[in-house]
């Protein structure tokens, strides 16, 4: 676990140690603790080891510095997280839609997003088109 | 006396145009068109007349003579026709450019000089007109400044080398035969030794080789074609470069004499075969280099070199079929390339001077006339059946095959396939593919551009379906050279080994086309869609995101690019640098300081004194 403000420094120090491959950036919605857990998975080709870094940010104000200055390939992962969890990555050059076609009020991967209600409201409302009788 | 008046009109018209331009620009334009059309009509009226020898001037005791015969009429007609068309084309194209009086004067002057060249019957007037042509061409090439200036200088340097060679040739001829009139020289040269003849032919060969851009001497051409104003590029490629071909014809067959020209094989290994092989190389390499080009005009310029090779090949091979093919190809190629340059000009005019093939596309819907012109032009350049070049290329191939020179024929045929690739790139990247968004609102080309394009397009089809029209004139030319007459009829050539019958091909394609068209009509009617409605793996791709024109032949380039280099250009560049270095060295001696010069004078005086005294004073 690392602190939110220090995450860049921590990543940098790991990178300098030889963990130079950012495998992915992920997120877990800890709704009971009112927190998002951001997970960085780093690996090293030389050592053949994997390191998992975690940091927690608040759910109300989900902001975290972008990891792009350290690992450039963080860009698509962070776009994805922004889209699915609504996390703001400060300093990210383009947080444009990546995967989703529709706009959702609550980002769909948050645990308080009620998919069944959403499906009923959106997809089931669309009428069938009947044949002529 | 008509020739004299004709030339006077041509030169006088050029200067009058300049002064009219000071009065009114509209008047100048109309007058320029009027003069060029008058010349065309006047030349056309000369059809069939020949051997009209008369003197018009005395020069150091030699009379200067003009004449017209079938050869000069053929070239004169083409010169005046293309001159008139390109002046008409200039009307809109050059609108708003500066120094137009000068431009129109030079255009007319170049035409006049070319008419002078083809009508000249003695070497002095030939040389004078040749020089007028070279210099006015130089001024027109560097007309637009900037990049055009080095191109012009390159041209004029090469051209001067050629002129000097010709000058030496003329002097040597005058010393030996005491005459400058071509027909008299031809009579005199029969008795000359064969070494001397080769010397003369090589000297003049360099001149005309530079002008018609035979392979190692071609370096001036790509830049010059690209940088000059497009209507003049058309003249340059269409007729001016072909003056070299006229020169070859004149010196090989009129001056040296056909019978002699093929008898040199005793001394050196067949002079004309060397030329043939130069022609073959000139066909193959430039057409492949043309594929690499991304500038529309430069692409055409390399074709200008490549197609020149066919003419040299046909002319140098010198059977009646091959000669007819070579001369016919001169005309046919000129029609095609003038047409293509005009289409490029129309595109350039509407797209704001863009002719980069990577950034254009889809203009067919906006400029149908220019497209039709370009389509027919490239078909002609390839030599598809029913276009004019097919006949001339067929003649050349056939003579090469029947005379058992398949390797030359191979070079010629491969050149054709290289041509297909590069000109298709030209057509596709200009007119087909996707229309970029910024050209959404382009209008059609103006009428003054459409008229020449339509005239030349119809000429391509006319001469393609009825090749007998130009072939009849050419037949009189080759019989005047002493070759066997061809069995020409209106739609082809009949000979003992395989005949050509364009009317058969025409009907076959026509019938096949109409049958297929009927079949096409039988099917369900198709539904017109725009270019946006296009299969893109299910995605909707808006305009401007959809272009595949850059690196059109990328897989091929991976293979051929290392072998395609302009070695001649590199060599001349190296020569240039050597001379520059040498001159820099010389400049160190002439430092511009008076003190140095005094020192030099003293030094040389001392040296002279020393030499004079023979070292005795010591």
């Amino acid at each position: 676990m690392a602190k939110k403000e220090e995450i860049l420094n921590v990543l940098k120090s790991f990178r300098d140690k030889g963990y130079d491959h950012l495998e992915m950036v992920s997120c877990v919605d800890r709704i009971k603790e009112n927190k998002f857990e951001i997970v960085y998975i780093l690996s090293s080709y030389g050592e053949n080891e994997t390191v998992i870094l975690k940091t927690a940010i608040s759910r109300e104000n989900p902001q975290i510095p972008s990891a792009i200055p350290v690992f450039e390939n963080a860009e698509p992962y962070e776009r994805e997280l922004h889209e699915l969890f609504g996390i703001d990555f400060e300093g990210h050059p383009r947080l444009t839609p990546l995967l989703l076609e529709r706009k959702y009020k609550i980002p769909p991967f948050r645990k308080d997003f009620d998919t069944r209600k959403y499906v009923k409201e959106v997809f089931d409302e669309i009428p069938f088109i009947e044949d002529k009788k | 006396m008509t020739l004299k008046i004709l030339l006077l009109t041509a030169f006088g018209g050029a200067f009058v145009t300049y002064f009219l331009g000071k009065v009114s620009s509209k008047l100048r334009n109309y007058f320029a068109v009027f003069v060029s059309l008058t010349l065309f009509v006047a030349v056309a009226c000369l059809y069939g007349k020949s051997a009209e020898n008369f003197s018009y001037f005395k020069f150091f005791g030699n009379t200067l003579v003009l004449r017209v015969n079938s050869l000069s009429w053929f070239f004169a007609a083409a010169v005046s026709a293309f001159g008139a068309l390109s002046v008409i084309f200039s009307l809109d194209y050059m609108k708003g450019k500066e120094n137009l009086d000068f431009y129109y004067m030079m255009m007319l002057l170049v035409n006049a000089a070319m008419l002078g060249i083809v009508f000249a019957a003695d070497l002095v007037s030939f040389f004078v007109f040749w020089e007028i042509m070279s210099w006015s061409t130089f001024l027109l090439i560097s007309y637009s400044g900037k990049n055009a200036l080095p191109a012009g200088i390159k041209y004029i340097v090469m051209s001067l080398i050629g002129s000097m060679a010709m000058f030496f040739g003329i002097l040597s001829i005058y010393v030996n035969f005491h005459t400058l009139i071509i027909s008299e020289i031809a009579r005199g040269i029969v008795s000359a030794s064969s070494g001397y003849k080769i010397f003369i032919l090589v000297l003049f060969g360099v001149t005309f080789g530079i002008k018609s851009a035979v392979m190692p001497l071609h370096t001036w051409l790509p830049d010059a074609y690209t940088e000059s104003p497009t209507p003049f590029s058309a003249v340059l490629s269409g007729m001016l470069t072909r003056m070299g071909v006229y020169g070859f014809l004149l010196f090989f067959y009129v001056v040296a004499g056909a019978s002699f020209f093929f008898d040199i094989d005793a001394g050196i290994s067949k002079f004309n075969y060397i030329l043939c092989w130069l022609g073959a190389i000139t066909i193959v390499i430039p057409t492949f280099i043309a594929m690499l080009q991304n500038d529309a005009k430069k692409l055409l310029a390399w074709h200008g070199i490549g197609q020149g090779g066919y003419m040299i090949l046909g002319i140098a091979f010198g059977t009646s079929l091959g000669l007819a093919g070579g001369i016919l190809h001169t005309l046919n190629y000129s029609i095609c390339i003038v047409l293509l340059f005009m289409s490029v000009g129309a595109v350039e005019y509407r797209c704001g001077g863009v002719r980069d093939l990577n950034s254009l596309g889809g203009l067919i819907k906006k400029m149908p006339v220019a497209f039709a012109g370009a389509l027919l032009g490239i078909s002609g350049l390839i030599g598809l059946p029913l276009t004019n070049s097919f006949v001339s290329k067929w003649l050349i191939y056939k003579t090469l095959i029947l005379k058992s020179h398949p390797f030359l024929a191979f070079a010629a045929l491969i050149g054709t396939w290289g041509t297909i690739l590069s000109v298709y790139k030209f057509l596709h990247n200009n007119f087909l593919g996707e229309l970029p968004e910024k050209y959404e609102n382009i209008r059609k080309s103006p009428v003054s551009m459409q008229i020449p394009i339509i005239i030349l397009s119809s000429a391509i089809l006319l001469f393609g379906i009825l090749p007998g029209i130009p072939l009849k004139v050419i037949n009189t030319i080759i019989t005047s050279f002493g070759f066997n007459s061809l069995n020409v009829n209106l739609w082809g050539i009949a000979s003992e080994t395989g005949t050509l019958n364009t009317i058969n091909i025409f009907t076959a394609i026509l019938i096949a086309g109409s049958v297929i068209w009927m079949l096409f009509r039988v099917g369900k009617k198709s539904f017109p869609v725009t270019q946006d409605d296009n299969y893109a793996a299910g995605a909707y791709v808006p305009a401007g995101k959809y272009n595949y024109t850059a690196d059109f032949y990328a897989p091929l380039f991976k293979i051929v690019k290392p072998y395609l280099m302009d070695f001649a250009d590199k060599f001349f560049g190296w020569l240039c640098r050597v001379f520059t270095g040498f001159s820099e060295g010389v400049r160190k001696i002439y430092a511009g300081d008076v003190g140095y010069y005094v020192l030099y004078i003293l030094f040389f005086a001392a040296l002279l004194f020393f030499v004079q005294s023979g070292g005795k004073s010591w």
Binding site: V119, F123, I126, I129, K132 | Y535
Partner: protein
């Protein structure tokens, strides 16, 4: 070929040729596509029935939707369907396009394909066996024979409704309508 068939060929060559030459566009959406390669290749050999895969919708007249349809794929499906020339038939393959299947409560998967484009036949199963495709094809033949596979006609007639449904899910579509929409002031 029996005599009955010959007379049929002479009477309605369009129907007969359309029947025996179904060129299929496979839309590789979900897991159902894994069943398609065996169908095409040596084991089951769909070419016996005249069914061959083609690469573009312009050439196809049979559209196979093989698996769940997410919102993003729906856009491509509509686009491809509209680019297919008429007559054209759509077959939904597997339970997902029928009613959502195991993705019945997904936030991003449309549940009923026939709300957006007309479907002429369904193949149930999760995923169905390759034989089921042949059953579907032969069934489609009878439907064509009886003139019941008229999805494309329905699409043309009720294009407004379809387009409205599509736009409800996808937002405004970028491409212009395929058929002119009667503007009834709404």
């Amino acid at each position: 070929m029996d005599r009955n068939k010959i007379s049929k060929w002479l009477k309605e060559p369009d129907k007969m040729s359309g029947k025996y030459s179904l060129w299929a566009l496979y839309f590789c959406t979900g897991c159902g596509i894994i069943e398609v390669p065996p169908v095409l290749t040596s084991r089951w050999d769909a070419e016996r029935f005249g069914v061959i895969p083609v690469a573009t919708p312009r050439q196809a007249n049979l559209f196979l939707i093989t698996g769940y349809v997410s919102v993003k794929t729906l856009r491509a499906i509509i686009r491809s369907y509209e680019q297919m020339p008429e007559p054209k038939y759509v077959v939904g393959f597997g339970s997902c396009p029928i009613n959502g299947g195991m993705y019945w409560d997904s936030y991003n998967t449309i549940k009923h394909l026939d709300k957006y484009i007309p479907v002429d036949g369904w193949i149930a199963g999760c995923p169905p066996r390759p034989e089921a495709i042949f059953v579907a094809v032969t069934h489609l033949w009878t439907l064509i024979d009886k003139g019941m596979a008229k999805g494309y006609v329905k699409y043309r007639e009720k294009y407004e409704l379809y387009r409205r449904n599509q736009e409800k899910v996808l937002g405004t579509l970028e491409w212009p309508p395929l058929f002119p929409i009667k503007d009834d002031g709404k």
